[in-house]
Amino acid sequence: MNVEEFFRKVAEALDSSSELARGQALESIEGWDSLGILAILDLLEGGGVTIDLDELRAAQTTDDLLRLAGSMVEWA
């Protein structure tokens, strides 16, 4: 999936109605809390990405999520 699709899925997982942008602070996104982090973990695992929960908790921006998603996201 491309970056836009990935961000749409992230927003969906966080139950956020807002559009996400590159470099956006995760703390500014509605739904980015302990349950939201589990939801993102599930999203990444569903895409075949295995990461440590602490690594995900340490993420600060949407760019960090892109980095963690790795090959799950196609960089055009």
Partner: protein, 237 residues
């Protein structure tokens, strides 16, 4: 009558430890999904059956074979379990069977078999491994908690309907097992440290859970039924 115990979910963790412990004093039939794990149990005089507990026809056939071979059960211990850690909004309908079938529907089917005098002795004991999550659901494990709460209700219902047979359960907190180790992104060193801090009697172990199961199956617990004993070192207090 002969002591013949059926242990369901004996691949690893509590189930395996229960089978090994009880085999010292009773005939034990152990059912597990992972055939490779059963060989070691077979070496300890445990009759082993490879069976997926969610395949009810296969489970019933395994039970019938075990009874034909070694007589009606004096006890049945249900230890199979499957965890599911997801927020409610991430749950998909396809996730439901994975948590409900093993944690609730398979023991319900087993209870239905246990209820017959053709399968269990008149004073037999049914013991299931529940979880503290059944009493205290936590965020992220609601589906699992629902299944375990249903299992608790099954135990209480069996105690009422099947007396003088007894039905009991144990409710461990987090134990160091293959199942919890599989959630290494959550069950990490920080988690273990926090768990130890909030467990005034120390973090429960597989062996301490087996100790309680052994007591519940024994004559010493002859008047204990419909009870689910928490074994978590006090972590949920």
């Amino acid at each position: 009558m002969t002591q013949h115990v059926l242990v369901v979910g004996a691949s690893s963790g509590v189930g395996r430890a229960v089978a090994e412990r009880l085999a010292r004093s009773a005939r034990v039939t152990a059912i597990a999904r992972r055939a490779d794990r059963l060989a070691a149990l077979a070496e300890q005089d445990v009759a082993v059956v490879n069976c997926d507990v969610t395949d009810f026809a296969a489970l019933e056939a395994a039970i019938d074979d075990a009874v034909a071979r070694a007589g009606q059960f004096s006890a049945v211990v249900y230890c199979a379990g499957a965890q599911l850690i997801k927020p409610l909004r991430s749950l998909k309908a396809a996730d439901f069977p994975s948590v409900m079938d093993v944690n609730l529907l398979a023991p319900l089917f087993l209870a239905r078999c246990f209820a017959s005098q053709k399968v269990s002795q008149g004073n037999a004991v049914f013991c299931a491994v529940s979880s503290v999550a059944g009493q205290r659901p936590e965020p992220g494990i609601v589906a699992y908690s629902v299944a375990k709460a249903g299992l608790d209700a099954l135990i209480k219902g069996m105690a009422k309907e099947l007396g003088p047979r007894r039905a009991v359960g144990v409710a461990p907190g987090w134990l160091d097992t293959e199942m919890t180790q599989g959630y290494k992104h959550i069950y990490n060193e920080d988690f273990k440290t926090a768990l130890a801090k909030r467990s005034p009697a120390g973090v429960a172990t597989v062996e301490s859970v087996v100790d309680v199961i052994e007591f519940l199956l024994s004559e010493k617990a002859r008047h204990v039924t419909g009870e689910i004993i928490t074994v978590d070192g006090g972590a949920i207090l």
